[in-house]
């Protein structure tokens, strides 16, 4: 059986505002610990993205300036991305990368920066930034789990898809509807960084399983010794819930 996985990090040199490479380290670490041969590919500005070589795609967040550069670059690959996502390609999109999957980002002056239009989702700039620790409840297969991290975004995102989770503490997508992130086919979109995956290993495993299914393989994963991860998760969750 083919035991290899290929993870693609899009524009790590530009979209690295919130240490998103930490997410890659966790995906690689947890896949290798299960015996998979993992190949990572960093697609930098000006290099060709070959979506057929990706089993999982990571899209991080950058400053506004960098975000615009990436948005333009990715437009070339929109059709390829859409068809792969339709077939279940897992994508982890954080913060700016998350916004980029939508239709547009509306600036305070009303100008709309176009997104990739992968999702029917829009983002509008708010007056202030939504900043702070965040905890959400995530349901998967009848199980309830928490996801924790930090959010820092000026945009308010709205959509009708299932969210990644419901807000326990913090702002989430827009500070109003109690939803955080998005789940659509293999896409996990979220404002949560910290980075997201080190302290939320269950989300990492969900993405790895999705990558295995995308390759048409058995998606069962063995358990790993991750007590430290859960100790940090629980400590931070307690701290967040104790905050005023």
């Amino acid at each position: 059986m083919d035991r290899s996985l290929r993870f693609v990090h899009l524009f790590p040199e530009l979209l690295n505002l919130y240490a998103d490479h930490g997410n890659m380290a966790v995906l690689v670490g947890r896949a290798r610990a299960r015996g998979f041969a993992v190949e990572t590919v960093a697609v930098r500005l000006g290099t060709e993205l070959r979506i057929e070589n990706a089993d999982l795609v990571l899209l991080g967040g950058g400053s506004d300036r960098e975000q615009v550069i990436v948005g333009k670059e990715l437009t070339r690959y929109r059709e390829d991305l859409l068809s792969a996502i339709d077939r279940g390609l897992p994508v982890l999109a954080v913060c700016g990368g998350y916004q980029l999957l939508g239709e547009y980002y509306e600036l305070p002056n009303g100008e709309r920066v176009p997104g990739l239009r992968v999702l029917e989702m829009t983002t509008r700039a708010g007056r202030n930034r939504l900043i702070g620790n965040v905890a959400i409840e995530w349901r998967e297969g009848g199980e309830r789990k928490t996801i924790i991290g930090f959010e820092n975004h000026g945009g308010r995102t709205t959509h009708e898809y299932p969210p990644l989770g419901t807000v326990i503490k913090g702002f989430g997508n827009n500070g109003r509807d109690g939803k955080e992130g998005v789940l659509y086919k293999g896409i996990v979109g979220t404002y949560i960084h910290g980075p997201l995956l080190p302290k939320n290993p269950h989300v990492a495993d969900r993405l790895i399983r999705a990558a295995l299914r995308y390759r048409g393989q058995d998606d069962t994963l063995s358990a790993l010794a991750d007590d430290l991860e859960w100790r940090v998760h629980d400590a931070v969750l307690r701290q967040i819930c104790g905050e005023k």
């Binding site: 919130y18 400053s63 080190p198 430290l228």
Partner: protein
């Protein structure tokens, strides 16, 4: 001075007395009280100064300010905001401490450390003689949003053409502040320190041309985005520094070559600080002092008056010796780790990570510290973590390759101050801001106990 300002001043002073009676230091609160009552008090006090130099930038402000304070001290009294209280209330508290009951400043010369976001507010109503910029790096993201924003605030704050700007030639972002500012702009930079330990993988926030967005080309890196850069489209490149520094690491001295229009003159200063980032602080301060007319001879003498600020490689003697170092962002932390590599001693490394407002509440920056490349050359026998987010750091270390069972997590700062281990000569305690002063006090106690 207006009645309202005098009322504010009195209230500020009373606050300071109350704090003093309670046994607290009060670096900011008196200023906060005074500013609430009298919003124009700060500018009224600042405008009484005959000479003022402001130090701003992301990293190195406190050390550069301490160097300048030593260099400028000509026998007359100078005032400074020691302890890094660099927001409006901190500046006000420092000025109030040197003013009489009628708001008249008793000291007319000042070296002030000013936060990047506070700078435009200060310089809107007051023009200092000189502003020194250390660098523009990624700091506490939750405070300002993004690096671009910090740069905008610095650009706004340094716009006045009558103020001398002394900025870093080797940092493309700090350098850009001098573009379109032909008069009274001075650059300092390092030559000949092609630091072979600089890593290609370090975070670099300014490594893109601000005009065309292309990745800058580097002949060499010194640390972070600092080095010899040029835009491939020719939009900008590292300028020839007016003050070119050469760090003689083994001899512990900095040679400064000063380029005049037709001549070049050299002078040497003994360097009392460690790490290449600290040599930049020394060079920035020496350059500013030269711009203000201090002679090389006076610089060489006065450098001996330099007192290292709290937690900037502050050494507490003992067995083991303990060294307290502030870390607050990845580039600063990477610079500190490089300096640790230079120390051949068997060491323990303890990270104390808090997440209060002054530390930055977002700890994702821990993942941008280049631990992967530090660990193999660290000669560290012990790894420890403490602070409110010590567990986060433990997980970070685990991903950087330290065995999970080898990482000790300490619950209390008092335990951190007493860390020792077999065969360890030096314990390096790398701490974020809010744990720094409590740790310094605890470490003093431990050192005094012997």
């Amino acid at each position: 001075m207006r009645i309202r300002s005098i009322t504010g001043l009195w209230l500020g002073r009373m606050t300071k007395w109350v704090l003093w009676a309670l046994g607290r230091k009060g670096t900011s609160l008196p200023g906060l009280v005074a500013a609430r009552v009298a919003p124009r008090l700060l500018e009224e006090l600042l405008n009484q100064l005959s000479t003022c130099v402001i130090v701003t930038g992301t990293n190195g402000k406190t050390t550069t300010t301490a160097f300048l304070y030593a260099f400028l001290n000509d026998g007359e009294a100078w005032l400074t905001n020691r302890g890094g209280a660099n927001l409006q209330q901190g500046l006000l508290a420092a000025l109030l401490a040197k003013s009489d009951w009628w708001g008249r400043l008793q000291v007319k010369k000042a070296v002030l450390e000013v936060d990047e976001a506070t700078l435009p507010k200060v310089t809107a109503k007051f023009h200092p003689q000189a502003i020194v910029v250390t660098n523009v790096l990624r700091d506490q993201l939750d405070r300002y949003g993004e690096v671009d924003l910090a740069l905008r605030m610095l650009s706004e704050g340094t716009r006045y053409a009558g103020t001398a700007l002394i900025t870093n030639a080797d940092d493309p972002l700090a350098m850009s502040l001098g573009l379109g500012r032909p008069e009274l702009t001075y650059y300092y930079g390092m030559t000949g320190v092609v630091d072979t330990t600089a890593r290609r993988t370090d975070v670099r926030d300014g490594a893109f041309c601000l005009i065309c967005g292309r990745e800058l080309e580097y002949a060499y890196f010194i640390y972070g985005q600092i080095g010899a850069y040029r835009c491939p489209e020719g939009h900008f490149e590292r300028p020839q520094p007016t003050f070119a520094g050469r760090w003689e690491r083994a001899g512990r001295r900095l040679v400064v070559c000063e380029a005049e229009p037709n001549t070049a003159e050299e002078f040497t200063v003994e360097s009392p600080v460690r790490g290449v980032f600290n040599q930049y602080n020394l060079l920035a301060a020496a350059s500013a002092a030269r711009v203000l007319g201090v002679s090389p001879k006076a610089l060489r003498r006065r450098v001996q008056n330099f007192a290292p600020p709290t937690g900037r490689f502050q050494v507490f003697p003992g067995a083991p010796e303990r060294v307290l170092v502030l870390i607050k962002n990845p580039t600063g932390a990477n610079g500190v780790l490089r300096a640790l590599e230079d120390d051949a001693a068997a060491k323990a490394v303890c990270f104390v990570i808090n997440d209060d407002d002054a530390d930055g509440r977002d700890v994702s920056w821990l993942w941008d510290i280049n631990l992967e490349e530090f660990i193999p050359c660290s000669r560290a026998a012990e790894w420890l973590c403490g602070g409110t987010r010590g567990l986060d750091m433990a997980l970070r270390l685990a991903y950087a390759g330290i065995e999970r069972t080898q990482i000790r997590v300490l619950d209390k700062l008092a335990q951190v101050a007493e860390v020792s281990a077999d065969g360890v000569e030096t314990v390096y305690i790398l701490s974020t801001y809010t744990a720094l002063h409590p740790l310094s006090d605890l470490l003093k106690e431990v050192a005094n106990r012997g």
